[in-house]
Amino acid sequence: MKYFFYLITYLFFTACSAKPATELRVLQYEELKSIIEQNDDVLYIVNFWATWCSPCVEELPDFMEVNAEFDKNPKFKMILVSLDNIKELESEVKPFIAKHKIGTNVYLLDDNKRMNEWIRAFHTDWSGSIPATAIYKNGKKLYFVEDKLNKTELKQLINKYL
């Protein structure tokens, strides 16, 4: 009976402390577009990155810190778009997400042959260099940068558009 009580207590606390699992999905441009361009008053911070991209990896801790600060706000959602090769999903992307405690949904954009179309659809002047970050709300792109962002810059942008 005593053990049963411990078990219940343990289950109760693990259930409470468990955060909703982050989603990792492989998708194509149209699906990604439908996720970030919604009429739902949510501010979408969309970061384009890859495990092999060192400046991307450098800025991610700042992004995760900012995400932790804002993610209780239902009007805020950060999304990571991985541009890794689909072949590296198991060997690189999944271990990276676990190791770096990525707390956002990660979408691997497996749409390599149409890069020339979707890169310019996201932003006309984007040459395709990463990291790059876009901010969307109600289907509108409010901001785009083809460079790193630090914590202060990211927070300023969120506070400006939220």
């Binding site: 092999w52 090769n85 390599n112 042959k113 020339n116 460079d147």
Partner: protein
């Protein structure tokens, strides 16, 4: 006299501000198709320097900003060699330039370039943008980033900026050969249909 002084200093101020704005905007945006590309004098892996003006009797250049460290650049190495083999006899020469600062990415040091060029049997110059003076003028942002230059009345005119083709991951599954289409059009003295393309690449590494 004071008035003249004031006038002169205002003039200098106005000119310098204008110059600054201009310098910043070129640095940020680089070349557009139709612009005349600047020549350079950069050190090749054999220790000699290479300039566009060293080449006489050419129809143009395929300038590729590339490096040793970026997986996308590596994926394209063999295709860059193939471009050189195909187009040098036709008058378009491949010139590869490593724009990365080895202080930020040690794999892209001059010595590492020499090793990589030998391993991959590069048939074209592989130049080091020492001091990172050239890539900002071209407006390269990533590796690989291609600029096709066409000789027009003695000038090197930019006619294509972008990716080599539309499939970095699989050379056998390429459906659009952007650079080849551009060079073929120029050889046929036609306009380049797609003068700008975009593809994911590794940002050029600078030490901040």
């Amino acid at each position: 006299m004071k008035k003249i002084n004031l006038f002169l200093s205002l003039l200098v101020l106005a000119l310098s501000t204008q110059f600054n704005v201009y310098a910043q905007s070129t640095e940020k945006t680089g070349y557009k198709p139709g612009d005349v590309a600047i020549d350079f004098k950069l050190k090749n892996i054999d220790g000699k320097t290479v300039s566009l003006s060293d080449y006489s009797q050419v129809k143009g250049f395929i300038v590729v900003f590339t490096c040793n460290s970026c997986p996308y650049a590596i994926a394209y190495e063999d295709r860059i060699v193939a471009l050189d083999k195909k187009y040098t006899p036709k008058g378009f020469h491949v010139i590869a330039i490593n724009p990365n600062d080895p202080a930020a990415q040690p794999k892209d040091s001059y010595e590492a370039m020499q090793v990589r060029a030998k391993e991959k049997a590069f048939t074209f110059p592989y130049l080091f943008d020492d001091g990172q003076k050239i890539y900002p003028q071209y407006g390269a942002t990533k590796t690989p980033h291609v600029f096709v230059l066409n000789k027009e009345k003695g000038k090197n005119v930019v006619r294509y900026i972008g990716a080599i083709d539309n499939n970095y991951a699989d050379a056998n599954d390429v459906t659009e050969k952007f650079v080849e289409n551009a060079v073929d059009a120029l050889l046929a003295q036609k306009a380049v249909k797609q003068p700008i393309t975009a593809a994911i690449g590794c940002s050029i590494k600078t030490k901040k």
